[in-house]
């Protein structure tokens, strides 16, 4: 037997290249757990090289045109295999999401990686998840016989774990039309820009004059899944915005999270930095919510 972690793509698999959504769901119905869909491959191939995943069937989504692109039908609908680069280029008005996609990783990965792939990988450190949580995004899951729509919040169950069944495919991410006078921001702290975050946070605020009408705060790399700071959000709504309030809410959000210490940062560091970046994200979001 070969030694493990050779970083060579050793696991043997059958490769499928369907061209329609229906074919994908048929393959998933047939193979279930032994199959894995592949979009950009920037996570899956690494996991296979590290022998953390060994699917016997790999289903490429890159020939399914229906999964690609961005359209506006009341809500903003993003096909699951739309690349991070494309989202960064096409959706600059969604500040938090565009900022997350801009600092996502290297240029090479930005062109290859997809939004659906980033969500399905379900990393607690996903850059795209916190902004999408602040936009109340929903995901459409399709199987051969059914389709259901879930709030993104209920999609993440734990590191690498999602609410998706083995026969289901994440087909689309939908963002409801933004309320007027809304602004958002995303801030990521990492060792170098292209690295995985030590902590990241997104905020969205909707204003009515100087009053906060609606608020969302979400964080990454601070819990087993990307999370919202619901208590901090509640304490913002109805208040008059001020830098002092942003400071207080930042500290409060940091108390709501339960980060761990790992190779990238300690628990204490994450908690302290979370307070600062939530504050700064709120300040920026407020400025943009004109």
């Amino acid at each position: 037997m070969l030694p493990t972690n050779t970083h060579i793509l050793y696991p043997e698999f059958d490769y499928h290249a369907p061209t329609t959504l229906y074919e994908v769901t048929e393959l998933l119905a047939q193979y279930g757990d032994s199959a894995r869909v592949m979009a950009g491959g920037t996570d899956l191939l690494v996991q296979m090289k590290m022998e953390r995943r060994q699917p016997s069937q790999v289903i490429s989504l890159m020939h399914v045109n229906a999964l690609q692109g961005i359209s506006q039908n009341g809500s903003l609908d993003i096909g699951a295999t739309t690349s991070i680069q494309e989202i960064h280029r096409r959706l600059p008005q969604l500040y938090a999401l565009a900022e997350a996609c801009n600092g996502f990783s290297s240029i090479q990965i930005m062109y290859m990686a997809t939004l659906g792939g980033n969500l399905c990988n379900a990393s607690p450190a996903s850059d795209s998840a916190p902004p999408l949580l602040t936009y109340d995004a929903r995901v459409t899951l399709k199987s051969k016989t059914a389709e259901r729509v879930l709030p993104l919040e209920r999609f993440f169950l734990g590191p690498g774990k999602t609410a998706m069944q083995p026969d289901e495919l994440l087909a689309q991410i939908s963002i409801p039309a933004p309320l007027p006078h809304s602004g958002s921001a995303f801030i990521k702290i990492s060792r170098v820009v292209a690295d995985i975050s030590q902590v990241c946070a997104a905020a969205r605020l909707t204003r009515e004059g100087n009053t906060i009408r609606d608020a969302r705060i979400a964080l990454g790399s601070v819990a087993p899944t990307p999370v919202r700071a619901a208590g901090a959000e509640r304490d913002l709504i109805g208040e008059t915005f001020s830098p002092a309030l942003a400071e207080k809410i930042g500290k409060q959000a940091a108390q709501e999270i339960s980060p761990i210490s790992d190779v990238r940062a300690t628990r204490e560091y994450r908690q302290q930095v979370a307070a600062v970046i939530v504050r700064d994200a709120l300040l920026r979001a407020w400025e943009r919510a004109q």
């Binding site: 050793y10 290249a17 950009g40 191939l45 240029i107 090479q108 292209a194």
Partner: protein, 160 residues
């Protein structure tokens, strides 16, 4: 798992090769003799395997070769020859932008993708474009100087 006959177009040459689905574009290219494409981390972190696929810089270690069928692949060896090197290649040599040289093919391809899109990039754009290419010898100052010089050279050339 059955091999398939795949047609790869590399540096304007056409290759027909039987490949298993678990062959990455990187190992297919190196097996074909394109050893100018380097295998570093195999995880998309270091950028040593950067090639252009239809003009876009990708990590060949994270692309399956089957997916590259029919695409236009360019490696650093296809950029210029010893007699007629590409201005980026000349500049990297002239500015001492290579020490051990292992990262250089990837660096040059990322720089090529940048200059194709942005003929006069700002320093921030250069840094962003090369953020996925790691160099452990020189630091990056000479690399950026070389790219800046090559950009000027290319702009002069295109004006004739």
């Amino acid at each position: 798992m059955n091999p398939k006959l795949v047609t790869l177009s590399v540096n304007h040459r056409t290759h027909h090769v039987a490949l298993n689905p678990n062959t990455t574009l990187l190992s297919a290219l190196r097996d074909l003799g394109y050893t100018d494409v380097k295998s570093g981390c195999e995880k998309g972190d270091c950028g040593a395997c950067t090639v252009l696929v239809n003009g876009i810089a990708v990590n060949a270690c994270l692309q399956l070769a089957w997916l590259a069928e029919g695409q236009d692949i360019l490696t650093v060896a296809g950029l210029g020859s010893s007699d007629q090197p590409h201005p980026l290649q000349t500049a990297f040599a002239d500015f001492g932008a290579a020490q051990c040289g292992f990262c250089t093919p990837g660096m040059i391809m990322s720089a090529k993708a940048l200059l194709d899109e942005r003929p006069q990039p700002t320093e921030a754009e250069m840094r962003k474009a090369l953020s996925g290419n790691l160099c452990r010898c020189t630091g990056y100052a000479r690399i950026f100087e070389a790219i800046e010089h090559a950009a000027k050279q290319l702009n002069v050339d295109s004006r004739g």
